[in-house]
Symmetry: none
Subunit: 212 residues, 4 copies
DNA sequence: TATGAATGAGAGTTCATTCAT
DNA sequence: CATGAATGAACTCTCATTCAT
């Protein structure tokens, strides 16, 4: 009955792994996934050798960061489901809360390289699919509640998430945060069910439309 | 009697310059600004040396592509101003039409490096400022027409543009185009003046808020 | 308890550093300071990467070689001071002995580039100034002894050193060595105090005259 | 009876050739023989193409500059022979006068590359040999006159010339000129016949010793 | 096991030389 | 014939990854 490999790490090794992951998360979010490995190691307070012992190459590190990140968002989503009284409110809360998402997005959308890595990893695909399922329940529920416009599907909402949450480099953290909040507000108004809306072009995008 | 240096190039040099610019535009848009110079040269059908003769280094090439691009968008914006019967319509048209913008956005927002280059170039700043002025007239006009919600300013709209138009790597061109159009539709609905809107948080963002 | 960074290198790194310095010394002396870095690395038995890890760029390597070299000459000069019974003899010995000087000279006088690097480095300037001081004491002493002609100063002597010791490329080592020894002999005769000498033109050159 | 190819050049071509040669002489003397061809062309006021039409490659240009230069020195030497009343005086005059030599020296001694080119060109070898013959007559005559020390031969004197006349980069033209004159003075004193001289080591170096 | 040194492939850039205008 | 554009090999430097200490 051996446990998950990560579980068996010695305490210090464990600590190293966590520090590396935390450092990589911060650096990836701020500068993208192409930073020198040495910089990540330094910022984690370990040598490159240690980094490579834990993550055999850059891809593995990117994957680990992504898994960690999707995990957090998924936990957020489930909490929203449990704690909010309507699906519309859960959706809105997730949207407002998930700054975590920014990193997934940054990773997934900024470099074709990172994207290729992520979409080819089954563990990540599983997490993403699970997240899409939760969102799907939000979307359908909110439409049933009459609060989400009926001509969108989960894919539309996910893309809007992704788009709005992408990092805005070069703005001060202050401005970026406020701008993001305002954009989310506008987006939510655009998603709200309303008679005046002209129908959107094309077909509603489902979760499946987001694949490769 | 213009003496623009570009004008004085020999016919073949001119052709090469244009091909390089076109190739760089396509490649930057698809893969970001960090692609090997050799790849750009090859795709333009010239040797690296030629590329470097026209653009002394990568920064110069990025700048040239950006200038070219802002130029096009600015022309679009002016055409919209002249040909549409209301400012709201002009704004909508610019938004729908300016796929060109995608490249500016890609360049400006994807890599911190490209951003630094662009914001430090006065010619580009001038073009950007001019574009913001045109958009400002659209925004104020559309608000006067009662069709654009009053709690946004030009900065908000520009950021939404930027955000929505960023390339979505990894999706097929087909899906990406449709998704973008749908997102724009939702965004426009969110921008439309409506009684039901809750007020947005913070202050309306002006063009000036977009600076460094 | 010195903490000189060089002292803290791991044994193998230390060895490599020394080999690189030795190889560079030989190659710079033979071919000037513009040789491909790869050639230096190969001749030191390491990869380019190693060379660049120790010396961040060519300039740093040139500087390190120059410091090393001035150090040796300075040691020679001090030994001459301590061990010879007169200043004239010390001067003559230094002149005969300091084949080391050839490299400094080669570096300092052959390429404008190397010259610029060296004159802008304070550590090197300090060593050079210290060497000039020792030579100055030789010169003044030997003049007091009545054995060095009175119408020269340290700058004259230093320039003669520099000039005579410059490498003669293309001659066999054998011929070059002999030719240098003969030139030094002639030069010494020219420096010897003698009634028959016509006065030299201009003012005696001091060490200060050698600055930029 | 076609003339020397150079003679048949059209007037403008002739002018270009001369300008290139003059520019190259100046630049080689100041910066060595490794300067970009484009810089030479620019400074001559022609395009690179023109430079290459006249001189098929860099080696040819170096050779042409060297031939031109040896020519001048040889003319100087012959004038000295004709106009001075003793061989010693002719030798001294040549030494003082031949700043021209600086360029030959610069070319011949600074870069192994230039040296290789020069020693392999028969036209240059011929000129050099002719120059050595004239100097040889000076040396033997001056020794017969009892004014030049008997333990040197033409090779020694030529090497001293070469050594002393090499450019001193980094000094102001003012200082460099004065320093050179003073060094020549010391050297001449060292060459003067005198009882006090200790014999030089080794054998007197003849012109033949200067080969490869 | 952790560290940081060594390696070498590859990217950016320069420049000698050729060739179209 | 003059010009300056185009080419590509060579060089400098960086960084992912491996390996000795």
């Amino acid at each position: 009955m051996t446990a998950d490999p990560e579980t068996r790490l010695r305490a210090d090794a464990r600590r190293n792994r966590d520090q590396i992951l935390a450092a990589a998360r911060v650096i990836f979010a701020a500068q993208g996934a192409e930073v020198p490995m040495e910089e990540i190691a330094r910022s984690a307070g370990v040598g490159v050798g240690t980094l490579y012992r834990r993550f055999p190459d850059r891809d593995a590190l990117i994957r680990a960061v992504a898994v960690d990140n999707f995990d957090r968002v998924l936990r957020d989503a489930k909490a929203a489901k449990d704690e909010e009284s309507s699906d519309w409110d859960a959706l809105i809360r997730l949207l407002h809360q998930s700054m975590e998402l920014q990193l997934s997005i940054q990773l997934a959308m900024v470099s074709p390289r990172a994207l290729a890595i992520l979409t080819s990893d089954p563990a990540i695909k599983a997490l993403r699919d699970e997240l899409l399922e939760v969102m799907d329940s939000f979307v359908q529920g909110a439409q049933a509640e009459g609060r989400l416009r009926p001509d969108v599907a989960t894919g539309d909402v996910a893309i809007l998430f992704a788009i709005v949450l992408r990092q805005m480099p070069g703005k001060s953290a202050e401005v970026a945060r406020m701008a993001t909040r305002r954009c989310i507000g506008i987006m939510i108004d655009g998603l709200r069910a309303a008679d005046s809306n002209e129908p959107l072009p094309g077909q509603a995008l489902t979760g499946a439309d987001l694949d490769p």
